[in-house]
Amino acid sequence: MKINQLSVFLENSPGRLSEPCKVLAAAGVNILTLSLADTEQFGILRLIVRDWRKARQVLEKAGCVVNVTEVVALEVQDRPGGLEEVLKIVEKAGINIEYMYAFTYRSRDQAIIVFCFEQPDQAIKALQAAGVNPIGDIDLYDRVEK
């Protein structure tokens, strides 16, 4: 139920962002979605790729510092209020959201949003109890990588 997201540390200087992208491209790894969080000093590049083990390997070989974080992908109705419905469930269960970002994928009326919860397992339980099923990783990759 959880997706393995890679995070890469980026020093805040020109060219730092393109390095990991170049490395992954050279290894034939397709980035399904990404998000860039930044402070004045540094950034964290978050990536969802299919073969995350391979991606981590090539990135580390190239000298990047890489972390793996378990995140949860949810389908959200692509209409006003769609996101709020999901947020309500999580807030009610008292679970903190660290960050989130959307996939570029879109199908008819569904958007896919990636959540990083402070307690992912509890979040999944609460969501399932409310009838919201997180998307499994294989399913996600197949859907998005057409």
Partner: protein
């Protein structure tokens, strides 16, 4: 605008007489004191006695000044290893003052003074001020730090004994320092050279031209500074800028001072016997050769130091000085023989910073220290490579790490450093001793 740098009528303080002792008399005095202090250290300081016994020496083997070369050296580690009071030759009840300065491992170096030691210290500081042309009637603002640091109180006692009017401002609060300089008719200022540069700039911002004030002399020490810095300081302020030298392990400020000629620092060698050695072979070098300065305290009772290796690189200036003093001059100290650096008058060892990084992370990351000078003030940045162990997906965790490192470094060295997290493998690796320090302050 009065030309305040024109020659002052010579004012001679009786205590300065020792500066002019004829050389044969000086050597006799030095030998008598050396014999006594070696006996004292032998009788009361375990480390010294052990080293003498290892060499099969006793104080009686000292038959002339030349025999000093047979004596064992003392090094900074001795102070660390015997922390806090292991090098004392006097009982604590005779110690009237303790001072401490930064040590390499976070523990300070402790130095002690009896009443007689304080009197000697006062007299050499008085001679320092006299050599810089100061006298009773001068108004001296002392901006060296008062407290455990020897600079503040050392300068204070000397200036007061000189008969000058002393203003103990200590360090910091630049705007107030400038106000006092202006309003109190200050004629001489004591502080670190880089602080003075900062003060000149701040004064300009406040619309105060130091050249309009009665300020005529600056007594600067505690860190290396160059001739071109001196020229800048003198031109911008209209003062004569004098270099003084000292170190806590020996006494504090008051070991050596420039005179009116401003070409080399006269060592008060009736109290501090100087030698220049080759730092690798430890052989005493001929006069004029550059090497490491070694000092022996000839009169210190509470904590005698025999052949203490200062790690400062200099040389004797062999020509007689035009001021007439017979106490020998050393060339101003430009660099050190170890990796210590000085920032804003504070001694810092890269190992202190290492300790701080280690304490936060548990392992030592690759790091580099970068020193720059902005608007006259020294800045320190520590670049730390991010490792997989400490890389967190959370921005807040990384920021917290950054803050923890900054806090630890500030706690270790007393100065706020900027911490920059950098990509791994961006800091140059090297064979052998890593180049941890990039000093970009461009002392020209």
């Amino acid at each position: 605008m009065a030309n305040r740098t024109k020659a002052q009528p010579p004012v001679f303080h009786p205590l300065s007489a020792s500066d002019f002792l004829p050389v044969p008399q000086l050597r006799q005095l030095q030998f008598a004191r050396l014999a006594a202090i070696v006996q004292r250290a032998y009788d009361h300081v375990q480390v010294f006695r052990q080293r003498m016994e290892q060499r099969g020496l006793t104080p009686a083997d000292l038959r002339s000044l030349d025999d000093v070369t047979r004596l064992p050296f003392a090094i900074k580690a001795d102070l660390r290893d015997t922390y806090p009071f292991g090098l004392f030759a006097s009982p604590m009840s005779d110690v009237v003052r303790l001072h401490a300065s930064s040590g390499t491992t976070g523990k300070p170096i402790v130095v002690a003074y009896t009443r007689e030691d304080i009197e000697v210290w006062t007299s050499v500081m008085l001679r320092t001020f006299a050599a810089c042309g100061l006298h009773r009637g001068d108004i001296i603002q002392n901006a060296y730090g008062y407290g455990l640091f020897t600079g503040g109180l050392g300068a204070h006692y000397g200036a007061e004994a000189l008969g000058a009017t002393v203003i103990p401002t200590s360090g910091g609060n630049t705007d107030r320092q400038i106000m006092i300089l202006k309003d109190f008719g200050v004629t001489a200022l004591c502080c670190t050279p880089s602080y003075f540069v900062h003060l000149i700039e701040r004064a300009a911002e406040l619309g105060v031209d130091l050249r309009d004030l009665p300020l005529r002399a600056g007594v600067f020490g505690a860190e290396p500074w160059t001739e071109s810095m001196r020229r800048h300081m003198e031109q911008a302020s209209g003062i004569k800028a004098y270099d003084i030298y000292g170190l806590s392990e020996i006494i504090g400020p008051g070991v050596a001072s420039e005179c009116d000629a401003q070409t080399g620092l006269h060592v008060f060698e009736d109290h501090f016997y100087p030698e220049i050695i080759d730092p690798e072979t430890c052989e005493v070098l001929p006069d004029g050769a550059e090497g490491e300065l070694v000092l022996t305290t000839l009169s210190k009772q509470a904590m005698p130091m025999i052949r203490y290796r200062t790690r400062d690189i200099t040389q004797f200036i062999t020509e007689p000085c035009r001021c007439g003093r017979n106490i020998r001059r050393i060339r101003r100290i430009g660099r050190r023989s170890d990796d210590m650096f000085i920032i804003r008058g504070v001694n810092v060892f890269p190992s202190q910073i290492e300790q701080a990084l280690l304490a936060v992370e548990g392992t030592l990351p690759h790091y580099q220290i970068i020193l720059t000078r902005e608007k006259g003030l020294d800045q320190i940045e520590v670049q730390v490579e991010v490792t997989p162990e400490f890389f967190s997906d959370k921005i807040s965790a990384l920021e917290e790490l950054q803050a923890k490192l900054a806090h630890a470094v500030e706690g270790a060295i007393g100065i706020r450093a900027k911490i920059t997290l950098v990509q791994p493998h961006t800091i140059q690796r090297s064979e052998g001793k890593a180049k941890r320090l990039l000093d970009q302050r461009n002392l020209q």
